[in-house]
């Protein structure tokens, strides 16, 4: 699961709640940016403040620090988004509103990948005239090297995902470029000439274009690679290059003079300078964004106190975007823990839960829409469906009791696990426990720290079985916005692991497993997507998880910045490629 940043300074947040009332005086000057706000959710429908104005400085602020600026050593969605300014992957996503942003377009490659061998071989042709910031030519060998260092030297660069290691032929045995000094490197990536790169996979994989959209395919010149230290001297292939980098504090990027707009239909190079400030107080970020002078880089949305201010004023609300975050908040039902081995008992849970109370506990409709499917609406393959519909989504006690009876039970006693350091998850779990009590299911809350949730507790099947944990709170976002990217890790029986497991329901249904492996080998997109919808439907009729909410964030739109568009490809964040400033 690609990680999204979570602001954790709860104490500070709580204190500012008290002070929310103090800044009323700001109301009168909300329009001093000169441009009238484009309206609520405008950036989820179109590009807001479209402008080709050049110059100025665009500032990004982050309350945290990223795992790394090195494109081969990061896993955060916002770094996938931001790194494209200085590291061009083979493919990327078109800057577009909402799910339109999920459209794949060639970046370093001249066109989409050409597959042969039924989807087991993928060939990309690079654009011509590509150069690094120092003027040297970018070749396909640099792309190959970038994939090798990011996926196979995991003792050095360990923070990114390792899909290439899993899917490339011989990936399990290759030791990475730092240990394997042979000239040819990994044999399953071939570079017949300087502009061609061929990937040989061990299985048919029709969504390979999504995989090469990861920053791991952005070229890295081997001669300049210093392993973990590369982050201090990243060689840019994009429209901007680093002029300063201070670990954990800040970074400054300036125009890359050797970047040629003729080789790049996507980037426009509007601002003169891009500044990234790290470890900025979350409330300060909100203030700066509202003053029109910063972007919340993590894309986690405004703090609770700011949210309250923004939503009570129509004027201010017009400057916000309430977007889907590509994530599902759900509760897994453990199919290996009695009595949930019986589908009727699982259905009782599905019917019993008052999803409105859960939504309220999570922070209301602003923080999530009520969910009835596995796939969120901003993921390719989503089809509207509601198999356990109830009036007003408030749960159906009668149907739940009937299902319980069909399961041969009148009461159930079980445990519900949640992450102790996530207050919203705890309150959602509490709401669920109350719903379940009404139909005779008694669940007690078990709390575990999120750092070890998957490695030691909820993600260890044996532990959940021993501890009678039948219900498990969970959130999931995909590494790439397709049905496969979303469903594979949480529904495929083959994904069940002894530890670090994410298929928390321990769901192992042959139909679903087959559908998933068939889908990924299917070339036709429509057929593929219909298979994902089928998996979704089957999962719901087997009642192995209860979708609670489709996660949403409330972003404030900085008034002075141009070309703002919230894209589903990066968890609802603004697309960072072409943000400029009008000041």
């Amino acid at each position: 699961m690609r990680r999204s940043a979570l602001a954790a300074v709860a104490a500070i947040g709580a204190a500012t709640l008290l002070m929310a009332g103090c800044s009323k005086a700001d109301d009168s000057k909300s329009d001093n940016g000169g441009t009238k706000a484009a309206g609520a959710n405008a950036a989820t429908k179109d590009v807001v403040n479209a402008s080709t104005h050049k110059g100025g400085t665009v500032t990004y602020e982050l309350s945290d620090v990223p795992d790394s600026f090195d494109p081969g050593n990061t896993y955060y969605a916002y770094m996938y988004n931001f790194s494209r300014l200085y590291a061009r992957p083979l493919m990327t996503f078109e800057p577009g509103p909402g799910s339109k942003g999920n459209t794949l377009v060639p970046d370093l490659a001249a066109s989409k990948g050409v597959s042969s061998d039924g989807g087991k071989t993928w060939t990309y042709k690079l654009r011509s005239g590509l150069k690094y910031q120092d003027g040297t030519a970018i070749t396909s060998k640099d792309v190959k090297y970038a994939v090798e260092r990011s996926n196979f030297a995991r003792d050095v660069l360990s923070l990114g995902p390792n899909y290439f290691q899993q899917f490339l032929v011989g990936g399990k045995d290759y030791k990475g470029p730092y240990k394997d000094k042979s000239a040819e490197g990994l044999k399953s990536i071939a570079t017949p000439d300087d502009t061609t790169i061929v990937f040989h996979l061990n299985t048919a994989f029709q969504e390979f274009d999504y995989l090469v959209a990861a920053p791991q395919t952005a070229p890295v010149p081997q001669a300049k690679d210093t392993g973990v230290d590369y982050v201090k001297n990243i060689v840019s292939s994009g429209s901007y290059q680093f002029s300063s980098y201070e670990d954990g504090k800040s970074a400054t990027l300036v125009r890359n003079k050797n970047w040629d707009p003729k080789t790049d239909p996507l980037r426009k190079q509007y601002p003169d300078k891009i500044v990234v400030n790290l470890k900025v107080n979350a409330d300060t970020i909100d203030k700066d964004v509202l003053a029109g002078n910063a972007i919340d880089m993590g894309g986690t949305g405004v703090q609770a106190a700011t949210q309250a201010q923004l939503l009570t004023s129509a004027d201010k609300k017009a400057g916000t975007d309430n977007t889907f975050g590509g994530r599902l908040v759900y509760m897994a039902i453990n199919t290996k823990v009695a009595p949930f081995t019986n589908v009727q008992c699982r259905k009782a849970v599905e019917y019993a839960i008052d999803k409105v109370s859960v939504q309220t506990a999570e922070g209301g409709p602003i923080r999530g829409e009520i969910a009835t499917t596995v796939l969120p609406p901003d993921i390719t393959g989503y089809v509207k469906d509601d198999q356990y519909a109830s009036t007003g989504n408030k749960g159906d006690v009668a149907k739940a009791k009937a299902a319980l009876q069909a399961c041969g039970k009148t009461t159930i006693s079980t445990n519900l696990s949640a992450r102790s350091d996530r207050p919203q998850e705890i309150s959602a779990a509490t709401a669920i426990i109350n719903s379940l009590k009404a139909v005779g299911i008694n669940a007690s809350l078990k709390q575990y720290p999120s750092g070890k949730y998957f490695t030691d507790y909820a993600g260890v099947p044996k532990f959940t079985e021993q501890q009678n944990i039948g219900l498990i709170m969970m959130q999931w976002g995909a590494d790439w916005p397709s049905g496969y990217g979303f469903e594979q890790q949480i529904l495929n029986g083959a994904a069940i692991g002894a530890s670090g497991n994410t298929n928390l329901s321990q769901y192992d249904n042959k139909t679903v497993n087959n559908l998933l492996s068939k889908a990924i080998g299917t070339e036709d997109v429509t057929t593929r997507n219909s298979m994902y919808a089928q998996v979704d439907k089957q999962t719901m009729s087997d009642a192995v998880l209860v979708p609670l909410t489709y996660f949403k964030v409330l972003l404030a739109r900085p008034a002075n910045y141009s070309n703002l568009v919230s894209t589903a490809a990066f968890s609802g964040q603004y697309d960072y490629l072409n943000i400029g400033t009008t000041k």
Partner: protein, 323 residues
């Protein structure tokens, strides 16, 4: 000598206790620094790179050796030499800890020094005046304010100061400017942070000074001084305050030492990239070497501050001087 022993004991303690307290095995520790679904080989490799596969006494030895003699790290294609004093190599950000600490130290020193001057001057002045006119309106009012100052938490006063003085009335700057670059800007950006910190501390000092002064002003030697016909100002400052200063110096030494080791909440609230913020960041990401580094540095400052306090005692109070 004692100093070295204390510092070494602190290091030793945290080095052995930190991972144990977190209840982690070396495998679990290494696993945190790897991304998605690591294989057993990945974990073993990272464990080896970080030196976590060695016995604890060896790890400790390498750590101490690094501080005194420097260390060499072999991560990936290049070999990195970390000069003494080498406080290790961050597991998470892959940077040397010592340069991180030194680059952040000026911020923390600026914050602590500015605030210390403010709270000492205001706290002691208020305390003396209150003690000279006990139970007066002035005394009551200031002690009331002092009580409020001690009670208000930093994340309240700090955020309030930011809200009022940088957004509502943008008098003060927001991004830290080094003293060497522009002293006026430096003071300007730090002033809200200084005031917030000083409010917190000066309250304690005002109360300490007041009680100390009340006590000394009733002592015999004050009566003698007055009887000698000394001017009241001399009696108060030279004789009264000087004797009352002893406990204040003690507390001040401790406070300043602690602050130099990092004002965690203040630096987080004011987005200052100081030692305290570094500590928070490292703790959040479970990054052991920086946590060790910060703790050691903090311990060092506390010990040094205590040493200075001992020396200052003699200067302030003739009674403790060795003849």
């Amino acid at each position: 000598m004692i100093l070295l022993l204390v510092v070494s004991a602190v290091t030793f303690g945290i080095f052995f206790l930190l991972p144990r307290l977190a209840g982690q095995t070396a495998d679990q520790l290494a696993q945190q620094y790897i991304g998605k679904s690591p294989s057993a080989a990945d974990i073993a490799a990272v464990k080896h790179n970080l030196g976590l596969d060695q016995p604890l006494y060896l790890q400790y030895w390498h750590f101490i050796k690094g501080i005194v003699a420097g260390a060499t790290y072999n991560l990936g294609p290049t070999t990195v030499h970390c000069n003494a004093p080498c406080f290790g190599y961050s597991f998470k950000d892959h940077v040397e800890v010592w340069p991180q600490l030194t680059s952040r130290l000026p911020v923390t020193v600026s914050l602590a020094a500015g605030a210390a001057v403010l709270w000492l001057v205001s706290g002691v002045t208020v305390g003396v005046i209150s003690a000279l006119k006990p139970r007066s309106f002035f005394d009551r009012a200031f002690m009331g304010v002092a009580l409020a100052g001690v009670s208000l938490p930093m994340f309240f006063t700090g955020n309030l100061a930011i809200l009022l003085f940088t957004y509502q009335w943008p008098i003060f700057g927001r991004t830290y400017v080094p003293f060497t670059e522009n002293p006026a800007q430096w003071a300007n950006t730090l002033f809200p942070a200084w005031c917030s910190l000083a409010l917190l501390y000066s309250a304690i000092y005002a109360r300490l000074t007041r009680s100390g002064m009340l006590e000394t002003m009733n002592e015999d030697f004050i009566r003698t001084a007055r009887a000698k016909g000394l001017r009241e100002r001399n009696v108060v400052v030279k004789h009264g305050l000087r004797a009352a200063l002893t406990p204040i110096i003690t507390v001040f030494g401790m406070d300043l030492g602690l602050l130099l080791g990092g004002a965690l909440i203040t630096e987080s609230v004011f987005s200052l990239h100081g030692i305290g913020q570094y500590a928070v960041q490292s703790i959040e990401s479970n990054d052991l070497p920086p946590i060790l580094g910060v703790t050691l540095l903090a311990a060092f400052f506390v010990v040094i501050a205590n040493l200075l306090v001992d020396l200052l005692y003699a200067a302030a109070d003739p009674r403790v001087r060795l003849s």
